[in-house]
Every structure is written in structure tokens, then in C-alpha cells.
């Protein structure tokens, strides 16, 4: 068996090296393109999901989000909850948010928005929003009369970059009027403009917890949500379990849960698109390889008959052609991988611009392995069937062809 395979491989190598160069290059190019097609689409989807993941963790909810229990509007007794959560193993820091609907007014423009009260010192330990000040500075604990606003609310200098209605290029140092639902209207000094690249984070407006308490005229011991940063070495679902074990009865979600909730449907649709792309690519690969081997074998019918007459086993002849497609597939995969990696390198420097940020393709090793295996199986089938058909012909019929 090994000897037969060795002979088949010998014939296959000679067949490729000394056969038609044009056919060789064209076949390899098609396989490379098919492989690129199979890898590139999922890499974009994965890049898109990766951006969403990064933005959720870095600028929106941290690693874990606690929101009110289904029947309640707020998380009660939030300060003792924060103390409790900060003691949970794996939690680096928790930060409470209190969000309320407001109307922002600036130079005749008005815009409905949400102002979120935060404790800036806690917030710095949970999100990286403080690092993304496009203009001015971040808030400090205890500050009053100051507000920071996301660039998708303040507006860009170049209006074409705005993705929705804005206040019309509000800058740090400007004054903005905030009208609360309780009837309070207050003019704030804009301390900074946030630009994270995350549309959700760049829509918000933030004031300090003390400032919100002064607006409501009472101590605020409840929150609309609590965001948590976990230790990089800890696994979020385990930390979530620990939080529940510490007696927290609110809704606790890891970033994976949030992503699933927010993008689950989109990811499913992407996965379906991806499957269709892969199936179409595989069919193209099978058809191309089938035709290539069919033409090769039909052109070699007489030669195959002669080889059989000389005592060459049918299996050696079939394996010869199967090896040829596997070799072509291997070269195609190598060229395809090089193409994909080159495209990834270029798109890392010049990423796709999406509303939620810059998307760079991410090639998952599992995708590379799975698609390689699928392509090899397709190639095997595409090579085996035509080779088997011709090799199974009667010797004299083949020789007379």
C-alpha cells in the first residue's frame, strides 16, 4: 500500500511539474481565490465582532453589567452594593451610573439626550473613556457645574462626520443648557468632548454624582446600572457566578451576554451569510477541480489503459490524480493564506470605517483549519470521482480511445 502510494505520488509530482504550466497556474489561482473567499468574509465578521467586544468592554459596560431586576426601575442601596461587589474575587472595580433623560440646548439647537451621573474616580478604573478626550479634560470627583459630552452629540466641525442630529459643533469651554425632567434647567461649562469611536459612548453626556444629587436636591442611593471591570486573568462567567453568590439579586450580565443580546441576531445572520459563501466557494472548487481532473484523465485515457496493461494497479492511477488535486489544493491554500494575510496587513493600516469604529479583519486559526479541511475534502472528492471513472474503464476500451 505504501509502495503504491509512493508510486502514485511520484507520478502526481511529475504530472504537475511537467504538465501544462498554464493549467497549473490557473488552477492554483482559482483555488487560492476560493480559499481567500472562504477566509476573508468570516475575518471581516470576526473583526466587526471584535470591535464590538472591545468597545463594550473598554467604553461602555466594562466586563460585567449589573442592571435593575426585571420588576424594578433602579438598583436600590447602590453604595452598599458597590462595596459588596468590590469585595468579590476577580472584580477590580465597580462604578455606578445614574442616567436620566434631558434636553440639551446650544446656540438655538436642542437635542434630546441622556445625562449619566458617574463617580469619575471609579469610572477611570472601569472604562477608558477618560483617555479619549478629543477636546478639554475628563471630570473629577465632586466637580459641579461641569459636563463632558460625546462627539456624536456635540457635533463635529465637519458636519459630514456626524451620524445624527447634534448640537452643532459644541467645544470644550462652551456653555450648554441642560433641562431635566424635574423642571430644573441649568447652564453647564463643557469641560471636555469625548471621542471613543464607539457610537453608543460618543452619544452620552456625563456629570458627577454630586452634581446629579444637587439637581435632585437629595442623596442619590440608587442607580440605573453598575459597570464592573474584572481582573484580566479571571473568567467573566465565573466572576458573574461569584457576584450572585455574594447575594446580589439584580440582573448580572457579562459582556458576552450583552454582545449576544445586542448582536446575536446579527451574528447569526452573518454566520448564515458566511455559510452560504463557504458552500458556494466549495462548489466552485469542486467543479473547477473536477473539470481539471476530468480533462486530464480524458486526455490520458489511452495512457491510463496502457499503464493498466503494463500492470499498474487501478488504485495507483486513481491516487495519482487524487495526489495531483491535493498538491494543487495545498499550493492554492498557501497562496490563498498569503493573499489573506497580505490583505489583513493592508487593512490593519487602512481599516474599514464603520459607525462603531474601525474594523480590521481578524483571521481565526479555527477558520483557517476548518476551511482548509473542507477544501481538502472537496478536492479529494473532485479528484477521486473522474479519476475512478476513467481508471475503471476496461483496458482495451481505454487503449482504443
Amino acid at each position: 500500500m505504501l509502495l503504491d502510494l509512493r508510486v502514485s505520488f511520484f507520478l502526481a509530482l511529475r504530472g504537475i511539474l511537467r504538465g501544462s504550466r498554464g493549467s497549473l497556474y490557473l488552477t492554483v489561482l482559482i483555488i487560492a481565490m476560493v480559499f481567500t473567499n472562504m477566509i476573508f468574509m468570516p475575518s471581516i465578521i470576526l473583526g466587526f465582532i471584535k470591535v464590538a467586544e472591545d468597545q463594550i468592554i473598554t467604553y461602555q459596560t466594562g466586563n460585567i453589567l449589573i442592571s435593575p431586576h426585571e420588576d424594578e426601575l433602579y438598583i436600590e442601596d447602590v453604595f452598599s452594593l458597590l462595596e459588596k461587589i468590590n469585595r468579590v474575587p476577580g472584580v477590580l472595580r465597580a462604578s455606578a451610573h445614574y442616567g436620566t433623560g434631558v434636553t440639551l440646548r446650544y446656540k438655538g439647537n436642542s437635542l434630546g439626550s441622556t445625562v449619566i451621573a458617574i463617580n469619575p474616580d471609579d469610572e477611570r478604573l472601569v472604562t477608558d473613556v477618560y483617555r479619549k478626550m478629543a477636546d478639554g479634560d475628563y471630570l473629577a470627583d465632586g466637580e459641579n457645574d461641569e459636563i463632558i459630552i460625546g462627539i456624536q452629540t456635540s457635533g463635529h466641525k465637519d458636519e459630514s462626520l456626524d451620524m445624527g442630529p447634534t448640537l452643532g459643533y459644541l467645544k470644550a469651554g462652551d456653555a450648554v443648557t441642560v433641562e431635566y425632567t424635574n423642571g430644573v434647567s441649568k447652564v453647564y461649562h463643557v469641560k471636555g468632548i469625548i471621542e471613543t469611536g464607539s457610537y453608543y459612548a460618543d452619544q452620552g453626556a456625563y456629570i458627577t454624582w454630586d452634581e446629579m444629587e444637587s439637581i435632585f436636591g437629595r442623596k442619590l442611593d440608587y442607580a440605573t446600572d453598575v459597570i464592573i471591570k474584572t481582573d484580566p486573568d479571571s473568567y467573566e462567567p465565573e466572576v458573574k457566578t461569584q457576584i450572585y453568590r455574594f447575594g446580589v439579586r439584580e440582573k448580572v450580565q457579562t459582556w458576552q451576554d450583552i454582545l449576544e443580546e445586542a448582536m446575536g441576531r446579527a451574528v447569526q445572520n452573518f454566520a448564515m451569510l458566511n455559510s452560504i459563501t463557504i458552500v458556494v466557494s466549495l462548489i466552485i472548487a469542486i467543479v473547477v477541480l473536477f473539470i481539471v481532473i476530468m480533462i486530464k484523465t480524458l486526455n490520458s485515457r489511452r495512457q491510463i489503459g496502457v499503464l493498466k496493461a503494463l500492470g499498474v494497479e487501478k488504485s495507483i492511477i486513481i491516487h495519482n490524480y487524487v495526489f495531483q488535486v491535493l498538491i494543487l489544493t495545498t499550493i492554492g491554500i498557501i497562496v490563498g493564506t498569503t493573499l489573506v494575510e497580505s490583505m489583513v496587513a493592508i487593512l490593519t493600516v487602512y481599516p474599514f470605517q464603520f459607525p462603531d469604529g474601525e474594523v480590521t479583519p481578524v483571521v481565526a486559526t479555527s477558520d483557517l483549519i476548518n476551511n482548509t479541511i473542507m477544501l481538502y475534502i472537496a478536492a479529494f472528492i473532485a479528484g477521486y470521482i473522474p479519476a475512478w471513472r476513467v481508471a475503471s474503464e476496461d483496458i482495451l476500451t481505454a487503449m482504443r480511445s
Binding site: R6, V7, R14, L17, R302, A309, L310, K314, I395
Partner: protein, 237 residues
């Protein structure tokens, strides 16, 4: 030794039934150079194909080296052809992607002969047929006569018990044909090689020890070449 008894081969071609062979019986001794001759459609190639295990008779029995080939399954027939028989075809049938050397050692490689051994055997046989300087040439770099000599080398490299040649000179000019036939004769004499060759050229008879002439699927003559052919050959030489 080849013993064929009452060989019949009928081809069913739709509404037409062709009787290619009608009860042919022959015995060929080891070391004989036998020519099978006859007009087109006489059944000479069919007989060669049956004796060379490339086809199966409709009726009759073939014993090759004492083995009743009817008892062999397809795989065993393939192994038998590889190990004990050699073939030379009309159109040389060299593998185009292989060099002269590779074409010759291919069957030795399949037989499991070691690389050193088959390379030495290849060199030896190519040296014998005068093509040892063409080892790395491909078939399209050789003349028809040279290609046929390579095909003979390929058939001979494994020292087959019987060498079958199906009109090996059909595509060659008379000079190349004579070279090929001289080579066959040399192999036959020096190595006591049994050769069964199909031909339709009368002058080829001078090379054969024995000539079997077929007509309409039956043997009409079996014996040494006619005297007049041999005399003509002597005159020519």
C-alpha cells in the same frame, strides 16, 4: 510456455455479433519468436490481447507458465502482467511526463525493486539498446524509432517470461522498423526471450522462428516462415 485451447472471442456490438476468434488452439514454447499475421480483422490482435491477459476469452482456456489464467481475479491478472509479462505497443505509449529513465523504471518501482537496483537495471537495458545517453530526455525529444526502443526497454527491464508486441513497427519507417526487429531478434537469441508479435508486413517474417497466420478468426497456417521470404531476406542482406 503458452498453451491456448479452443479460444473463442465474440464481441456483442448491439445488433451485430462479431466472432473475432473461432476456436484457436496454439502452444508456444519458451524462447520462441512467434509472429501472428493476417489481414486486418483476421483476429491477430484479439489473440494477442487474450494471450497477454488484456482481454478475456468468451470460451477456451489459456495456460501461462502452467497457470490457468481463468482462475485469476482482476487484481491477480494485473500483478501477473506486471511481474511476468512485457508489452510493446504500436504507438510506443510512453508516459509523456516522464523521462526516458523514469518510463523504463516505472514498472520496476511498482514491483518494489530498490532504487539502486532499478536504476542499475535501467541503465543496463538502455545501454544495451543504445540509449544510455538519453536518460533525462522526454518522449518528444526522441525519434519514433528511439521511442519504440525505450518502450522495448520498459517491457524488458523486469525480464518478463513473455514479451508481447502489437504491431511495434506500424508507425516506423523501414530503417527504424529493421532496427527494432533486429533488437527483438537479439533479445530473443541472447536472452532466450519468448516473443509473440503481431504484424501485417510480410517481410517481418524473416525475423520470426514461427509464423501463425489467421483468417476470419481461425488459424490457417502455423509453421516456420516460408522459404521464399527467407531467400528474399538473404538477397536483401
Amino acid at each position: 510456455m503458452i498453451i491456448a485451447e479452443n479460444l473463442t472471442r465474440v464481441y456483442d456490438m448491439g445488433k451485430v455479433t462479431v466472432h473475432a476468434l473461432r476456436g484457436v488452439s496454439i502452444t508456444i514454447q519458451k524462447g520462441e519468436f512467434v509472429g501472428i499475421m493476417g489481414a486486418s480483422g483476421s483476429g491477430k490482435s484479439t489473440l494477442l490481447h487474450l494471450l497477454g491477459l488484456l482481454d478475456k476469452p468468451t470460451e477456451g482456456k489459456i495456460l501461462l507458465g502452467g497457470i490457468d489464467v481463468r482462475t485469476l481475479n482482476e487484481r491477480q491478472r494485473t500483478r501477473f502482467r506486471l511481474k511476468r509479462l512485457g508489452y510493446v505497443f504500436q504507438d510506443y505509449a510512453l508516459v509523456p511526463e516522464l523521462t526516458v529513465e523514469e518510463n523504463v523504471f516505472l514498472t520496476s518501482m511498482i514491483r518494489g525493486t530498490s532504487k539502486e537496483e532499478y536504476q542499475a537495471q535501467t541503465l543496463q537495458i538502455l545501454d544495451r539498446i543504445g540509449l544510455s545517453d538519453r536518460l533525462t530526455h522526454k518522449h518528444n525529444e526522441l525519434s519514433g524509432g528511439q521511442q519504440q526502443r525505450v518502450a522495448i526497454a520498459r517491457a524488458m527491464v523486469n525480464k518478463p517470461e513473455i514479451l508481447f508486441a502489437d504491431e511495434p513497427c506500424a508507425n516506423l519507417d523501414s530503417e527504424s522498423s529493421r532496427n527494432v526487429l533486429d533488437l527483438f531478434k537479439q533479445i530473443n537469441k541472447e536472452m532466450a526471450q519468448t516473443i509473440v508479435m503481431v504484424s501485417h508486413e510480410d517481410w517481418h517474417m524473416e525475423y520470426f522462428d514461427r509464423v501463425i497466420i489467421l483468417r476470419d478468426g481461425r488459424i490457417v497456417s502455423d509453421g516456420p516462415p516460408p522459404e521464399e521470404i527467407l531467400e528474399k531476406a538473404c538477397k536483401f542482406k
